[in-house]
Symmetry: C2
Subunit: 320 residues, 2 copies
């Protein structure tokens, strides 16, 4: 079968012939129709991930066909019994396990769900990892309620954009930050009320003036800028981060945090029940993930370059 | 009446004659029998608090008599309707409102509760502020469950010590840190399983080896050391701080925090329902606050000096 295989580090995976997955008791081979990229795939290809295995088929997100039914795959593997936190053996489809960037992928039967009926394969493939991460962050961790004010930082990212869609669907008033004015404009087209450039030095004051502060903040940057998120949080504000691209968090004012009764949550991916709830939520609200572009697996270099350069708005999807 | 009145900044309050509180509709005048000090009183006397008013009677904690009944006072005033966070008009008894360091204090009738029957006035006076803060931090914010492992930093402090007693009573395995070996020993006498000196450079490694990590951590220091608390947190660990004596929080590793699904809560004081639950908990478990020493109001200088120098273990109480 055709597959995108990690051949050499610091290069995108290579489109090559790979053996079909073997038949394994309890597992099924899903015929992939579409598979979406995540930053994780780029980081793995650059060697910036623990447990890298040469020869692995990359890809966490996939939608396809099993036994004549349209399906979507939960990439969260071996979470364990505690809904609050994954166990040690937890991993994400696509490393070390062979992933979705192939004509077939082998997964446990209980990781396969009916594709939301309102989505085509490309849109469905864009959903799993980002949708699960955004859902847990917004609802399980931050307990988002209708009518609350939400800030989503760096709305260009896959999870951030999904969080924007979900929060709008949940009846929140959503604001975004981005370094690109056109991304803020696009987020507004998707239902965000407004946004600011984080390159503008007074962005926090502008937002505070416009909104009075945020009940829920979703972030993936961390770093020195995180302290500013505390400043723009409303009393009883909840701040959840699922990434740390800007490095260590510095300069948090403890008095401000305890007086405002702020909560800060680290979060990653989600458990099996959250994946199912996320699918129900997406079907109920007819949410359509934003697809940036669609590539054939042969165009893997272009796809990886596009994501590496951060040119995309929405998910980059391969069709098989 | 006799009262401890803030006369001059950077000096302890002065034991002097003050007028009896006026009769006000909806308020009652409680005859104070014992009133406990908090660090707050020292900070106010040093001018390190917003809204300082010369001539105010200090004191947040008090127990006494009203209409022939033994009572205890909730010092948390005007919290408001949101159990998650206090409203803007929230304040603590003893600034700007005249406090408990007097023979009589005027409070709203709904701030007066029956004194837990197993406590004398001195012990009861030691309970309110520290008990409320510890209760909200441990139970409302961190959701402590029986059998969990708890770390309490700087166990010499009033809230920390109360958190130690409460966590032991709740069936947790409690560990402490302190700069003083004798304070660790005293905490062990109160039911803590063990402790380490935070002056020992490898204290985090020692504790991780002994315990495998903490489900709940209660802190009042913040500062650079806070990052080490994240390291000794177990997966799904909750860290709550109610103070920031060491200043800004720096150097938090976001990857460690999101991968372990860590929660960090700022917390201060507690709402009215939490005060009632705290009293029920104290009565049910027959918890006796630790009293360090008892002073007459005339010995106010000695009492303030003892707390300023951090010599106490437990609460310092005035009797009126």
């Amino acid at each position: 079968m055709k597959a995108l295989v990690l051949d050499e580090l610091n290069k995108p995976p290579v489109c090559s012939e790979a053996p079909l997955p073997e038949a394994v008791e309890g597992k099924v081979n899903v015929r992939i129709k579409a598979a979406a990229m995540n930053h994780r795939d780029v980081w793995i290809s650059k060697g910036m991930y623990p447990g890298i295995r040469q020869g692995v088929i990359l890809g966490s997100d996939g939608a396809g066909v099993l036994d004549g039914k349209d399906v979507i795959i939960n990439p969260s593997l071996d979470w364990g019994d505690d809904p609050r936190v994954q166990q040690k053996s937890y991993h994400i489809l696509g490393l070390p396990t062979n992933g979705t960037f192939a004509e077939y992928v082998s997964v446990d039967r209980n990781k396969v769900f009916a594709k939301p009926a309102h989505l085509n394969f490309i849109e469905a493939a864009a959903l799993p990892l980002a949708g699960l991460t955004a859902y847990r962050a917004l609802f399980s961790r931050c307990g988002l309620k209708s009518g609350e004010k939400v800030l989503i930082s760096g709305v260009g990212g896959g999870v951030a954009l999904m969080a924007c869609l979900f929060a709008v669907a949940a009846g929140a008033e959503v604001w975004v930050t981005s370094g690109s004015a056109w991304k803020i404009k696009k987020a507004q087209d998707l239902g965000a009320k407004g946004g600011v450039s984080y390159k503008d030095e007074a962005w926090d004051k502008t937002l505070l003036k416009e909104t009075g502060g945020f009940d829920v903040i979703i972030d993936s940057a961390a770093g020195d800028g995180f302290a500013t998120l505390v400043k723009v949080a409303a009393p009883a504000g909840r701040i959840c981060f699922y990434g740390g691209t800007r490095g260590k968090i510095n300069g948090l004012n403890p008095q401000l945090m305890f007086w405002k009764q702020i909560s800060v949550f680290g979060s990653t991916m989600g458990n099996d029940a959250e994946f199912e709830s996320m699918l129900d939520f997406v079907s109920e609200h007819k949410i359509v993930p934003v697809v940036d572009s669609v590539y054939s697996p042969e165009a893997v270099n272009e796809a990886f370059e596009r994501m590496s350069k951060g040119l995309q708005f929405g998910k980059i999807v391969f069709t098989f």
